[in-house]
């Protein structure tokens, strides 16, 4: 194996800790001469930690989605996408058919006597109208060019007319209040979010954030209730909630429960930024007992 033949399969298994001794020796031989692969292997755990889910991810995603949606709705160039080629072909064919039909009707009227009634208007009318719509500027309903678009056209208008009381808006308001130091107002808004939108990601995250605020206010009982709600609800369990819960239990002098909570944090997140603190608290609590 030369320095330019990178053993990608061995690297994968090394990262997963599944190498046989002979394979490890072969890989080590390569790594000694290839700084790129050596960096690849040595930094793999670091990158994995960087990419691990974080408590703030849900809020980050929500903000980014809403901002992207707003940008797409504001900018016509972003809102409009080119229709798939088959739609353009269908539109062209429909236009051609309608023009041909229209020409035939006009020709028929010219050659027919003016006293005769107009022939079959019910058949004529839809033909020229149908193909016009797909070549319009906003082909939201392009895949079904013949259909009227009320069902699809209505939601954006309705959405823009709605008041901004959404889970995301409440979450943002609470965060703003928190940043301004209005802790009571922030907690109240978080609670409103939790009761109005209990199944949302924002509500899930708000339990941990409200718990932190309540801890800072010296209200460990209320904080514990919030952390417990975070841990009970579906979704990602953050290190912050586990660490906050353990701290609240300590402040409530529930030493045995606090020890169990710190241990639980270490078991779930051995590489957590709270791991050092958890170990230190465990030492202190065990000494105290």
């Amino acid at each position: 194996m030369t320095a330019d033949q990178h053993p990608e399969d061995l690297i994968d298994r090394a990262v997963q800790g599944r190498l046989e001794p002979a394979e490890q020796a072969a890989l080590n031989h390569h790594l000694a001469g290839c700084a790129a692969c050596a960096a690849h292997v040595s930094l793999a755990p670091r990158f994995a930690r960087d990419l691990a889910p974080q408590a703030r991810d849900a809020a980050l995603d929500q903000r980014a989605i809403e901002a992207a949606m707003a940008r797409m709705q504001q900018s016509p160039s972003l809102r409009r996408r080119p229709a798939p080629s088959w739609v353009r072909w269908a539109a062209a064919v429909a236009l051609l058919v309608s023009v041909t039909a229209g020409a035939a009707v006009i020709g028929h009227r010219i050659v027919s006597r003016p006293a005769s009634p107009p022939p079959a208007p019910a058949v004529e009318r839809p033909a020229p109208r149908a193909p016009v719509r797909p070549v319009g500027p906003a082909p939201a309903e392009a895949p079904v060019p013949d259909e009227a678009p009320p069902a699809k056209a209505t939601p954006p208008a309705r959405a823009s007319a709605q008041p901004a009381v959404t889970a995301a808006a409440l979450f943002e308001r609470a965060e703003q209040q928190r940043r301004e130091g209005r802790v009571d107002a922030a907690v109240a808004t978080f609670r409103r979010l939790q009761s109005a939108f209990p199944a949302t990601a924002e509500a899930h995250l708000s339990y941990a954030l409200a718990g932190q605020l309540l801890l800072k206010q010296g209200r460990p009982g209320d904080a514990l209730a919030q952390f417990d709600r975070n841990l009970r609800s579906d979704g990602e369990v953050g290190e912050e909630a586990l660490a906050g819960r353990a701290t609240a239990l300590e402040q409530l002098h529930r030493t045995a429960d606090a020890i169990a909570a710190w241990k639980s944090l270490l078991a779930r997140y051995p590489g957590s930024v709270y791991a050092e603190r958890a170990r230190a608290r465990l030492d202190a609590l065990n000494e105290r007992r």
Partner: protein, 196 residues
């Protein structure tokens, strides 16, 4: 370690098809479904504390929505959007690197406090690695990000970038060759051959 692009739920394709109708709620649901893959790719390329991270994620959402009509519903949607996100994040990092290079490292360190001392060097090495990969030719940079930073296997990269496994191996070989030279330069040693 890596969420396989093959392991994505079948419903994801359904969400994508609904999003093609351009109804806002459908697009929102689609974006929420691909958000973890987008965020992961952006965070991998740019670092968790990058000041442009959130803006870049927004850009990726728009890119992914606009690219949806071109998706052939083959090979995995998460892999498809990951590739889009990696490209966008690499471009963002290229633009902002001169502006925030030194400040950023400090922010990364600050963000991750408390950090044991042993980790500081590791964080810095990871940042250097991201920076050096950014300097490679785009197609090699994209392949190396997927492989080294996001931990994709060679087969998963082939799926994601819609090229053959052999092409991926070639890109990795050439990319790592250049990366090795860049690492040598960074370590303060003169390279034996000029860097292209």
């Amino acid at each position: 370690m890596v969420p396989s692009p093959k392991a994505e739920p079948a419903s994801l394709d359904g969400l994508a098809r609904e999003a093609l109708g351009q109804v806002p709620d459908a697009i929102r649901k689609f974006l929420a479904a691909i958000a973890p893959a987008i965020r992961r790719a952006c965070r991998g390329v740019m670092g968790a504390g990058h000041t442009d991270l959130e803006d870049t994620i927004q850009d990726c959402f728009i890119d992914a929505t606009r690219a949806l009509p071109s998706y052939r519903f083959q090979g995995g949607l998460l892999a498809y959007v990951t590739k889009i996100a990696v490209r966008r994040a690499l471009a963002s990092r290229r633009r902002s690197v001169a502006r925030v290079r030194h400040l950023q490292l400090l922010e990364d360190l600050h963000d991750e406090l408390p950090v044991p001392d042993a980790n500081v060097e590791e964080i810095e090495r990871a940042e250097v690695m991201r920076d050096l990969i950014r300097r490679l030719r785009p197609v090699q940079a994209e392949t190396l990000v997927l492989r080294v930073v996001l931990g994709f296997s060679v087969e998963e990269i082939a799926l994601s970038t819609e090229v053959s496994v052999n092409t991926v191996k070639t890109r990795l070989r050439l990319g790592k060759k250049t990366l090795r030279q860049l690492l040598t330069v960074h370590a303060g040693q003169a390279p034996r051959t000029p860097i292209r």
